[in-house]
Each structure stands twice: as C-alpha cells, then as structure tokens.
Amino acid sequence: MTITTNLAPKYGKKEFSRRHAATNLETVITLSAGAAASIYGLVRRDWFGAAFASGGGYLLYRGVSDLRRPYKGRARVAFTIGKTPEEVYDYVYNPENWGHLLREPMFQVDGAGNVTIRLGRGEEGVEFKSRVEITDQRPGDYIAWASADEMFEHRGVLRFKKAPGDRGTELSIAFEYKAPAGPIARSLAALVGLDPEQLVREGLRQIKQLMETGEIPTTAGQPIGARGLKGTAERVLYHERPAAEMQPQSLAGD
C-alpha cells in the first residue's frame, strides 16, 4: 500500500523544495566568524592559535556545506492511548480538538486546513500561517498530510492501530519538515521548546492526556516563591507565566 504525502500531482510543484540548510544571514555570520577565528589563530603561531584556527576552519566548512546542502528534518513519535482506534481517529480528525493542544493556544488548525502557529503572548506574539491539506486517508487507519506552501514545509502520516490486549490504540506519527531557519536559529528554537519533534511529541501526548483524563496536566499559575535570576531565566523551560500575569487571590484568613 502506498500512502500519498505529496501535493505535486495537484499543484505541479516540486515534492519538497531545495531550500538550503542555512539562511543567507546565518551563512554570512558563520563564514565571517570562521574567517576571523582562522586569521587570529594563524597570526598567533602557537598551540592555542592552532586550536583556534582549526575551530575557525570547521566553521568555514560548515558555512559552505550548509549553503550547498538542502536541509530536511524527520522524526517519528508514537503514543499508546487507552481508547479504541475509531475513537482516537474521530478525535484527531475533528480540527476543533486541535485548538486545545499545547498549553497556550500556540498551534491551531481550522476546518479549512489553515494552520496558525503562534509564538509569544499578547500583541508581542508572532504568528506563522500555513496551509495543510490532507493528501490521503482511510478512516480509522491513517491520515496523511502535506503543507501547501513553502514557508514552513512539512508532511507526514498519522496512523491508528489497535494495540495488543486491552492497551487501546497505537497512535503514531512520522513526518518530515523544513523549518524556515538555519542551524543557529533552529538550535535557539529548540532551547525554548520549539523543536518540531518536541512540539509534535507534546501534541500527541496531550491528545492522550485529554482523551484519557479530560485535561492536560499543568502547573502554570500555581504559587511560587522568589525565583531569583536563574529561575526567572528558566521560566520558559517550565512553562511559567510572567509574574505580572499571576493574579493574587486570597482563600481565607490570611
């Protein structure tokens, strides 16, 4: 059986664009840092300089090779959910259910396949809009999709399979993507939890949590003491709201 994850027959475009691994800006940064380190190292003419020069050489190599190599990330994630394949399929197939996913409304799909990915909060937030089309599907079995534009390319297959015994459904996802960023920006994004694999993993986990328990576990908005400098910096990692958003509330006799 072949599952189609390709929009080329419909739009006559290339299957996946050949956009390169790094953006031009990142290439310029990498190449200039590499050149500077190499020259500094060569001028010093000692062991420390040699180390510097080889580091610079590596950066030059990365800068050139990233510029030539088309980038493609891929990942596979699976969860077992204690519901029947039909229940899980129906849940996942309904775009309204995707609005619940991820603690903040970061990722939304509407009925027409328009995907909105939102980074940051309030008016300072940035929105990426993308269009997703279902390329192939069989109810209760699989859904394949592909993005319809080149800004953030992704495509993959969601599969629903009965798990052995009384374990429910194996919900798996295999996908490929090209993020609109080079290696530097990708690493920074991964640091704040915006790595595509991690986002998809947490999305599936939350489908499981919602289907099994009716809620997504959270600590956002719970009481915390003084965080200090390091703790404040790590709020992103622990999904904590900024202090200004924490509304004081009093229960009794305090």
């Binding site: 009716g214 576990p217 009481p223 229960l251």
Partner: protein, 396 residues
C-alpha cells in the same frame, strides 16, 4: 499564604506567595492542617535533586480540609477532611488501571525531562523538582491537588490528624517495602535505616507476619524506637563486619529479605563509604550506594532485596555477580500509594498501629527552616517533624 520555598542548597525560607487556585477541572484545593518533613525532602535540601529551582514550594506529606473543587470533581466535597498521597495519579491510564499508580502516564507536565533521563516518566509528585512535575508542595497553608477524586483519602471523624497524616507517604512506603519482601512464616527481615520509613517498615513487616526483624542504624534514639517496635537492633558502627553479624544472627542462613530504607545519602563506614563520599563530592556520582551493596551481599540465596530508599543516577560497584549468583529478587520504586491508603487506614482505625509514635517534633511552618537543619543533622534526637501551618512559631 505562607509557604516553605527552596532557595538553594541548605537554604529554605518561609515566604508569602499567592494562594493556589483551581487550574484544571479535576483539581481541588486543600486548606492544610498538618504537614510533615520527609527524609526525601532532605535530598532536596542538600541539593542532590536536579531541576529543583529557587522559589519551588516543598512538601509532599500533607492533609487538610477541602475548600474548593473543580467542575469535574464529584467524589470529594468541600468540607471533607482528606489525606493526600504524595504521588499524583489520573486513575484512567493503563498503569493506574493495573495498580501501578506511581507509574501514571498522564500527571507529569514535564514528562519529557524524565524521558531524557530514564527513558520513561513516572507520575507527577508534589514538591519534588520540575522533572517530577514541578507541582507546588504541601509545606504551605494551602495546596492545589490535581485529580483529587482519585487520590484524596477521606478521613472519618474521631481520628487524630497525627495518626493519619503519614498515610500520605511514609506509612504506605514502609508497608509496600515490607510487602515487596514477600514475607512468609518464619521469615527474618533485615532493615537498613531506622528513619521514619524504616520505622514503619519494621512494624509493617510484623503486620505481614515476619518472625523476626533486624534493624540496622547508628543513631541511638532511632535504634531505641526500632526496638520499641519489636525489632532486634545492630549499631553498624559497633560491629566489624555487618554481613558476618547478620549471618551469625540467622545461624548461617542470612536474612530472608533485606531492605534498603536509606537511599542515596548513606553514611556507612570504612573504605567503601569514603570512596562514595569522595565521588559524590567530586560530582562524579549522584548517589552513595553503600547500602545497596550491603543488602545484596547480606541477603540469603533466592531472597528478596526491597529498596524503598531513593536513588537517582548511575550506581557504582554494585555486586551484580552476587545478586545473580544467589538468584536474588530485586524490588523497588516509588510507592503505589493508591493501593495502600484505604487498607492502612483500616489498620489505624482498628488500633493495630498508632502512627504518631514516630513524631519527635511538633512545630509551626515558620519553624521549618530550623527544623530542616535539625532533622538533617539528626540533632535533638529528631526523627520526624510535623508542622502546623497555622500555628505561631514555637522557637520565636
């Protein structure tokens, strides 16, 4: 409200923080009437548990009155007096349905952190670092309790707070550790560590039919309490070879089961203990597994090693050959609390055990920073500290 917040290694403060509120439909809010400091809180105090951050509210042994419930809560009502188990379980995943409650799939919001470390994540815990869920703990005046219908144990009138509080952790933990020993008539159980969990393990072993319990420690008041519970005692600092001593006491058979109720901050004596200290100091190791080595060495052939003591990382120089050669059964892990709370409440109601025997210090929440130090340094014959979050400080 007032809450005890971790502020770094060896530093905890009572701070004013926001009151907790309902965040999810199955949450409840409990006004805490009694809370305790657990031996495992000392691992946090001493800075051994990663992903604990300044400002985190500690405490996972607490009880109180339900003052608010979310829209999907039905079993528990406002006004109920409840004890809250330290592990948080959803009640609906595969693991909860198979009575492996502390392995719950759905209660750790930071499951990815533990997945990186251990492959898979267990349930969320109260007040025990972000990788364990980052839930604010119960050494405070109020606490938010997720999935309160699943966990909270309703307490009938007529029972003291102090006699039911330990159903939140140490009594079930000691009991499960003893149950893991698979005790049969005539069995001798050896228990390393006479802290609060060890004390409950001693009494649980007798409840489960052990013939003899041998308790091992070096702190006199703890050994005294163990003897009061019916155990024979060994002060390990006064014997040359602990394994030989146990062999002697069991006429060459060895204890039928050996329990490590100590965990990652074992003291011990001799070269092995010094080696563990040095490695931990140099940050080459996270745990001091002195006791794990001893329980494996001392246990009889085909016996059970039960480990309720907490470990976190990679353990060094474990005599795995001895474990294999003797065909040992190893059992361990966070307590599956929800299997035990009802059952042990019955034991308390029937008067089989009076859990308040273990309390040595009754203080207010404001006294907690001093109490952590006293408990850690085993000063003032401290074995178990219970705090009243609403009382005036005792030591003011």
């Amino acid at each position: 409200m007032k809450a005890l917040c971790w502020q770094g290694k060896n530093k905890v403060d009572v701070e004013r923080v926001n009151d907790p509120k309902i965040l999810n439909p199955r949450d409840g809010i409990v006004r805490i009437t009694r809370t305790a400091i657990c031996g495992s809180d000392l691992h946090l105090y001493d800075g051994y548990i990663p992903t604990l951050e300044p400002g985190d509210v500690l405490g996972h042994e607490f009880m109180g009155e339900v003052v608010d419930t979310g829209s999907e809560v039905s079993r528990v009502k406002k006004g109920d007096r409840v004890v809250v188990p330290f592990t948080i379980a959803c009640g609906q995943c595969y693991f909860c349905k198979h009575n492996l409650w502390s392995a719950c799939d759905n209660t750790n919001p930071n499951a990815w952190m533990l997945e990186k470390l251990y492959g898979y994540s267990g349930s969320g815990l109260f007040g025990y670092s972000h990788m364990m869920g980052g839930y604010a703990g119960g050494q405070a005046q109020f606490a938010r309790v997720p999935f309160i219908d699943v966990g909270a144990l309703k307490i009938p009138d007529g029972l003291n707070d102090e006699d039911v509080l330990f159903l939140s952790d140490i009594f079930p933990t000691g009991y499960m550790a003893a149950e893991n020993c698979d005790i049969k008539p005539g069995d001798v159980v050896a228990i390393w560590g006479c802290g609060p969990v060890g004390q409950f393990a001693i009494r649980s072993a007798f409840l489960l039919g052990a013939e003899r319990v041998i308790a091992i420690d070096r702190v006199h008041e703890r050994l005294k309490m163990a003897r009061a519970g019916g155990a024979e005692i060994i002060d390990y600092e006064e014997v040359d070879d602990l394994v030989e001593e146990l062999k002697w006491m069991t006429a060459g058979r060895g204890p039928d089961s050996c329990m490590d109720a100590v965990g990652l901050e074992a003291h011990g004596t001799g070269v092995a203990a010094a080696y563990d200290y040095a490695k931990q100091r140099l940050k080459l190791a996270f745990d001091r597994p002195t006791v794990v080595r001893q329980v494996i060495q001392a246990c009889r052939k085909g016996g059970v090693v039960s480990i309720p003591g907490v470990y976190g990382g990679f353990l060094d120089k474990i005599p795995f050959g001895a474990a294999f050669g003797k065909g040992l059964i190893l059992k361990m892990g966070q307590t599956h609390m929800h299997n035990y709370t009802e059952k042990l409440l019955k034991h308390v109601e029937q008067g089989d055990i009076k859990p308040s025997f273990v309390i040595t210090h009754r203080l207010s929440l404001d006294d907690a920073p001093d109490a952590y130090r006293t408990f850690r340094d085993k000063q003032d014959e401290c074995i178990k500290v219970v705090l009243d979050p609403w009382a005036q400080p005792v030591a003011a």
